[in-house]
């Protein structure tokens, strides 16, 4: 299902193109467009990455407005494609502690959360529950 792109002024279309372009080397994500403070991730990503956006929006994190930057950080150098486990841990300390050791091995730790939890919808259907009570 594709979403029709609304007719936007030229500048906003340029924004979309920029967002869809490959990330600059050394940067995780293009810096937000010319008016960063007035926009949010969804301004571009609703149309640039519609499946991912919809998965998030239809899931619990979307309903509860756990927005993109909570897990991914901000744009430019602050962007993290794979969130560190600390990002999950802040709100889910019990589950994170039960499966993740405290000393830092960021990528490996968050790989554990995402072993079972789909990256944006975040449900983990059919998986055994490894979280100690």
């Amino acid at each position: 299902m594709s979403r029709s792109i609304p007719a936007l002024p030229f500048l906003s279309i340029a924004l979309l193109v920029a967002a869809a372009a490959p990330a600059k080397p050394g940067r995780g994500h293009p810096d937000a467009g010319p008016n960063p403070a007035a926009d949010a991730c969804e301004t571009c990503h609703r149309d640039a990455t519609p499946d991912v956006f919809r998965e998030w929006e239809d899931g619990q994190h979307g309903l509860l407005l756990v927005k993109c930057f909570v897990c991914h950080g901000s744009t430019g150098r602050d962007f993290a494609k794979v969130p560190a486990a600390q990002r999950c841990q802040g709100c889910h300390p019990v589950q994170a502690a039960a499966t993740v050791p405290a000393k830092g091995r960021a990528a490996k730790e968050s790989a554990r959360c995402f072993d079972c939890h789909a990256p944006h919808g975040l449900a983990a259907p059919g998986k055994p529950n490894p979280h100690a009570k």
Binding site: P101, A102, F114, D115
Partner: protein, 91 residues
Amino acid sequence: MIVAGVIIETAPGAAPRVAARLLHEPGLELLGGDGDRRLAAMFTGPAGGALEALAERLVHAFPDVIGVFPTYVAEDPEEAAPGAKPARDPP
């Protein structure tokens, strides 16, 4: 190899400095503590007495360590050298 959860009991207040010295103890991964007199850690090592050897060593080498108490010990018959990655299916 064996996998064990342990509580390391220290003299009151000594846990943080003992923890600092245990950071590089082979096979021992610190998990946390109460900030006062107990540390929680996970030990992985070859089967056959490695856990007992660890307990003895810590108690004798560190005056602040009162005891090393396993809370959980399990044997994983798959032999693996310490530090090797466990076998995993690709995501």
